[in-house]
Amino acid sequence: MTEPQVSPTLRRDSVVLGAAVGLVGVTFGVLATTADLSMVKAMAMSLLVFTGASQFAAVGVISSGGSPVSAVGGALLLAARNSLYGMRLSERLAPFGWKRVPGAHFVIDETTAMSVAQPDETSAVEAFWWTGAALFFFWNLGTAAGVLIGDAIGDPNVWGLDAAFPASFVALLGPHVSTAPGRVAGIAGAAIAIGAVPFTPAGAPILLAALAIVPTLLLFRNTEPAT
């Protein structure tokens, strides 16, 4: 798998991203204990759901006294964006045949960010599997640690853990906004999401942000697509 064009820092960056996300996993484990989830249930969520924002949303609803139906509904709304990521990644995963079926479990924000950012196909595929495996390992390790030490550390955000996710995406953003359409889509996406927060239920703003492609396509309809 080590073709020469694969950047030597790619695997290291995948592991670093995984470790950073593991810290967020600690936060999830702590939150799960405050919502009275058992170790087995918290681990089942991180192993089987494996999409952070949805897990936080579901447990958040439960801990604030909401019903399981509203918890699952909001979480699924957040999970829907992984379909869009899956479509973006599908061509790169197509050569893997049946391995796409288990591999789809890894289709989340971080694997899409790392894979799509790569300059060539080999690196893109390598980035997907490495980031996916590293995240799966550290996310679950972090969740277990959070459940075990939950009572001891209190509020994990005292340590600034809630800054880890947005900061990692700022660091990953460069290649995605290197073209003018990418920048316009990014700005429009952020504006739509923020604008939608006061008027829509939790989970809707991130999906509505996908509408940013409409003004972007209109603005750049006469220019050649840069893929």
Binding site: A44, G86, P166, A167, I206
Partner: protein, 100 residues
């Protein structure tokens, strides 16, 4: 969180992922393909904005904004990946400690 809720969520989340992967490469329409390629920048910028300025479906300005500013500055100064994350966490933790 009941077992039923966990398993329904797990099945639904995986279903979304798999559907995208299996359907995406059958999309041949160039305009649609281009739309799909614009999804990541739109959603990543939205995620950064929401994870920084949103809590419980309300817009807030708190210590996370300091982390965002530091992350942007560190990325602009070409600080390595792990440094960007650590500096942003420190900035947020210190701002929170100072009562921000």
């Amino acid at each position: 969180m009941t077992w039923t809720a966990i398993l329904v969520l797990a099945a639904g989340a995986y279903g979304f992922k798999l559907a995208g992967v299996l359907v995406g490469n059958r999309v041949a329409n160039p305009a649609l393909r281009r739309s799909i390629s614009l999804i990541p920048p739109a959603l990543f910028c939205a995620l950064i904005a929401l994870q920084t300025f949103e809590t419980d479906n309300t817009l807030v300005l708190d210590a996370r904004a300091a982390g965002l500013v530091v992350a942007l500055a560190a990325t602009w100064r070409k600080v390595p990946f792990v440094g960007v994350i650590v500096l942003a966490m420190i900035a947020t933790a210190l701002t929170r400690l100072a009562g921000g």
